[in-house]
């Protein structure tokens, strides 16, 4: 068992995508001038979303409206909405953050990271573990409840700017570009089904792997530069960013078992719960809680938790799932 775990972790660490992340991180750390131009990085992100949504839609259509789909969706919603309350308490207690920054950071940890999900599902595919295509929809469902929870926690901001900014915020929360592409592609995948998939097979399949490598290279650069520019992180915060994913994943696994989700679905649910948002949540927080310190929440989610999940978390959560599923 432990041997398998070691081998699985090794396989993950040797996956090209993970190695490209490491390359980016090292290049950023050495202050290389390497950068993926931002418009291309943004497009890669949209493209990854498109692939994940589309493939998920095709697979979800193939398997139909199973009860698993419903329980996974409901579980995802609950986890995403509940997590910020616990995370907020922990951040206040151990991280010594002010109220607003703690709420904003909690939103990130309740919400999810698309690329962590992508890496997780690639990992499961590589080791031959099946999971439901609807997990892409669960991913989409988990993006926003955490943001709403954080807003509840922080309380309505009031003040003159409040009224003015509301519509922008709701648009950002529900209609941010990434979410629209993810959900839209899921629906398109479900509609076009196999004929559509055949046409786009290569585009959303073989190409995806390479694009993920390129994007992770960029993530490595951004993460390590972010971390270098963040002197404010105390050990309490770093501890939170490493321990929270573990606890969160464990809770997700337990709940998944209770709901009879499959091994693959449970593993992905753990990955989602453990992951922290770095696209949707920061964008919303910048609008809704502008007094929160972006240096804190971005450094934690992007600089600490993302690498941890990518390098260690994904194989670990799956290994724990295996143990639990016997």
């Amino acid at each position: 068992m432990l041997e398998n775990l070691g081998a699985a972790a090794g396989a993950n660490l040797l996956a090209p995508a993970v190695l490209f992340f490491a390359l980016g991180a090292i290049a950023g750390w050495l202050k290389s001038d390497l950068t993926i131009p931002d418009q291309v990085a943004k497009s890669l992100a949209l493209y990854l979303m498109l692939c994940i949504g589309f493939k998920g839609g095709v697979e979800a259509r193939a398997s139909g409206l199973t009860p698993d789909l419903l329980s996974a969706g409901a579980l995802g919603l609950c986890l995403s909405f509940a997590a910020p309350f616990a995370a907020y308490a922990a951040l206040r207690a151990f991280g010594a953050l002010d109220r607003v920054t703690a709420a904003a950071t909690a939103a990130h940890y309740g919400s999810v990271s698309v690329v962590t999900f992508a890496a997780g599902s690639e990992y499961l595919r590589a080791i031959g573990v099946e999971f439901g295509g609807y997990m892409a929809a669960v991913l989409a469902l988990m993006e926003t409840p955490a943001i709403l929870a954080a807003l509840l926690i922080a309380g309505s901001r009031g003040g003159a700017a409040g009224a003015r900014i509301k519509p922008t915020l709701w648009r950002e929360v529900f209609l941010n570009g990434a979410a629209v592409v993810l959900v839209g592609s899921f629906i398109i995948g479900a509609i076009t089904n196999e004929p559509g998939r055949e046409r786009l097979d290569l585009f959303v399949g073989a190409l995806f792997q390479g694009a993920l490598c390129l994007f992770l290279l960029d993530m490595g650069l951004v993460a390590s530069r972010r971390l270098a520019a963040a002197p404010k992180l105390n050990w309490g915060l770093i501890g939170f960013a490493l321990v929270w994913p573990l606890l969160s994943a464990a809770a997700a696994l337990a709940a998944s078992m209770a709901l009879n989700l499959s091994l693959g679905d449970a593993s992905l649910m753990a990955v989602l719960a453990a992951s922290a948002s770095y696209i949707a949540a920061p964008a919303a927080m910048r609008i809704a809680l502008p007094n929160a310190d972006a240096g804190v929440y971005l450094s934690l989610s992007l600089g600490v938790t993302f690498p941890f999940n990518l390098l260690v978390g994904i194989p670990l959560y799956h290994a724990i799932a295996r143990l639990m599923y016997g």
Binding site: D38, G159, A161, L221, I287
Partner: protein, 101 residues
């Protein structure tokens, strides 16, 4: 050639605010504006950089109009900057075809 003095605002704000600002500028009497995208910067809210992954970046809105419009915009901005990051710089410029501004 008739050069007339007008007021130029250079407004640095986050991308999400650009639409609101454009609406406000029209309301207070500006008849045009141009928006540029920054690549990196720093201010009292820390440093940022366009990366395509996490950071939204600042926009520079340049708008030229009457002193009265500028005054109205500054009042709005003064309030806006209480909550949000950003900076505005006011200066005088000379323009052709003053009736357009």
């Amino acid at each position: 050639m008739d050069l007339v003095t007008r007021t130029k605002l250079e407004i640095f704000v986050e991308a999400h605010a650009v639409n609101d600002l454009e609406r406000m500028l029209t309301r207070v009497g500006f008849k045009g504006c141009s928006v540029f995208e920054g690549v990196e910067g720093a201010g009292s809210h820390g440093a940022w950089r366009q990366t395509g992954v996490d950071e939204a970046g600042m926009r520079l809105i340049i708008t030229i109009g009457s002193e009265a419009s500028a005054r109205a915009a500054l009042t709005w901005l003064e309030d806006y900057f209480k909550s949000y990051p950003g900076v505005v710089a006011v200066s005088e410029v000379k323009v052709l075809r003053a009736e357009r501004f």
